[in-house]
Amino acid sequence: MKGIIWHITLAIMVFSVNSYGQNKSKGFCQEDLLGKSYISDGQDHQVLLRNGKAAKFVVVFYPQFRYKIVICSNNKQLPIELKLSDSNGKEYFTNVNKNYAREWEFQHSSIMNATIELKLTDIKKEENIRLLIGYQLNQNP
C-alpha cells in the first residue's frame, strides 16, 4: 500500500513539475510581449548575461519594416543596457537615458546591418534573458 501511495505521489509531483515547466515556457517571454501587430522573426534568442560582459546580436533590418525589440527576463527590475549600433560601431540608440526601457521600436530608411548589445549594469549580477524581435510592414515609409 505504501508503495502505491509513493508511486501516486511521485506521479503527481512529476506531473506538477512538468506542467509548471510547460506553462512557464509557454507564457513567459513569448510572442505576446511583441503585441498582436508584430510578427516574430521565428527564432529564439536567449543569452546569459554576466560579469558585465555584453552579448551581441548582429541583425539585418530591412527598410520596409518597422521593428520591435523586447528584452525579457525573470527579474523585471534589473536594469539591462540596450545599445544599437551599425557595423562600423556608430551608436544610434541606447536606453541608458531612457530608464533602461525594455521595449523599443525602430525603423530604418535603408537596410542596416546592426549590432544589438545587451549588458547588465551591475557586474556582480547574472541573468538569463530572451531577446524578442518582431516586425510589421511599414505602411508609412
Binding site: N18, G21, Q22, K24, S25, F28, C29, E31, I39, S40, D41, G42, Q43, D44, H45, Q46, V47, L48, K53, A54, A55, K56, F57, V58, V59, V60, Y62, Q64, F65, N74, L84, D86, N88, K90, Y92, F93, K98, A101, E103, W104, E105, F106, Q107, H108, S109, S110, I111, M112, N113, N128, R130, I133, Y135, L137
Partner: protein
C-alpha cells in the same frame, strides 16, 4: 576573402573546444535552460540573426509581383531527404514556400506544403504535441494571410526554441539556411522575369544577410561533408556579392521617447556592376536545386 576564412577558422576552434558533449536525450522546453545557454556562450558571445523568409515574401507581395505557380518547390517525395541535414534544409525551404503561397492566396497548394512541414518536423523529432496544435491553427486559418503568417512564425520559433534547448543548434541553423536559400532563389528568379528595380535592390540586400548566415553556420563547418559543401557553396555566392559596392551616405536619428520609437534615417546604397547578377542567379538556382534534387 580572407576574413571569411578567418571567421571559419575561429568558429572551428570554438566548435572543437566546446561541442564534445552533445545531449542525446530530448528534454521538454524550459523557459531558461542554463546548460544550454552556457554552451551557447562558449560558442561565441555574438549571435548572428537572419531575417525570416516571411519578410522577403511580404516584400514581394508589396511590390505587386504576380504569383508564379512554378516558383515554389515542385512536388517532391520526402523520401529523397535521407539525412538530417537534408531534412532540416528542406524544412526551411518548405517554410519559405508556405509563406509565399499563403501571401498569394494559394490555399490548396499550401496544404500540401504544410503536410510536408509536418512530416519533416516529425522525422526530426521536433516537439510533436505543441507543433501539432500550431499546425492545426495554420490549417484552420488559411485564407487569413496575417494569421497564417503569425502562426507560421510561431511554429518556426517554437521549433527553434525546442531544438536549441536540446543542443541541436546545427539543425536550427540549417532550417534558417533552407529558408534563406529558397527566398534568395525566389528573388533571383522573379528579378529574371520582371527586371523590377525593387527586386534588384532586395537581391543586393541579401549580401548582408548572407554574411550573417555564413557566420551562423560556420561553427558546424567540419561537422559533416554536407555542412562543409553547403557552407562552401554559400561562401561562393558571397564572393559574387563582393563586387557590390556599399556606400553609407548620411544618417540622422529621430527618437520619440514618449512612444518608444526611433527612426534612423540612414542611406545605404548598394551598387552592382558588370554581369555578376547573372552569376548570382545561377548560384541561387544551382544551390537550391542541389538540395531538392
Amino acid at each position: 576573402m580572407n576574413w571569411r576564412l578567418l571567421t571559419l577558422s575561429i568558429s572551428l576552434v570554438f566548435l572543437f573546444s566546446c561541442d564534445s558533449q552533445r545531449k542525446k536525450t530530448i528534454v521538454s522546453v524550459p523557459a531558461f535552460e542554463n546548460d544550454s545557454i552556457s554552451l551557447r556562450l562558449k560558442y561565441a558571445e555574438t549571435s548572428f540573426v537572419v531575417p525570416s523568409p516571411n519578410q522577403a515574401s511580404l516584400l514581394l507581395k508589396k511590390s505587386n509581383i504576380q504569383f508564379y505557380d512554378d516558383l515554389a518547390t515542385p512536388s517532391v517525395t520526402l523520401e529523397k531527404f535521407t539525412t538530417t541535414t537534408k531534412k532540416s534544409l528542406a524544412l526551411g525551404i518548405f517554410g519559405a514556400d508556405l509563406s509565399y503561397l499563403n501571401l498569394f492566396d494559394q490555399k490548396e497548394v499550401a496544404m500540401k506544403y504544410l503536410q510536408n512541414v509536418q512530416s519533416l518536423m516529425s522525422d526530426l523529432e521536433i516537439m510533436p504535441s505543441i507543433e501539432k496544435t500550431t499546425l492545426k491553427k495554420i490549417e484552420n486559418n488559411f485564407g487569413n494571410n496575417d494569421s497564417v503568417l503569425y502562426y507560421l512564425s510561431e511554429l518556426y520559433k517554437s521549433s527553434d526554441l525546442f531544438l536549441k534547448a536540446n543542443d541541436r543548434r546545427d539543425i536550427c541553423s540549417l532550417i534558417v539556411a533552407g529558408g534563406w536559400i529558397e527566398s534568395f532563389y525566389f528573388l533571383a528568379e522573379i528579378y529574371n522575369r520582371t527586371h523590377k528595380d525593387e527586386i534588384f535592390t532586395l537581391i543586393l540586400y541579401q549580401s548582408d544577410i548572407l554574411d550573417n548566415l555564413i557566420k551562423l553556420l560556420s561553427p558546424f563547418y567540419e561537422r559533416s561533408t554536407e555542412f562543409t559543401v553547403l557552407i562552401d557553396d554559400l561562401v561562393n555566392i558571397a564572393y559574387e556579392f563582393d563586387v557590390v559596392d556599399k556606400v553609407q551616405l548620411t544618417t540622422k536619428v529621430e527618437t520619440d521617447t514618449e512612444h518608444q520609437f526611433t527612426k534612423i534615417l540612414n542611406q545605404a546604397r548598394h551598387l552592382l556592376t558588370g554581369s555578376k547578377l547573372e552569376n548570382l542567379e545561377k548560384y541561387a538556382t544551382s544551390l537550391r536545386n542541389k538540395i531538392l534534387k
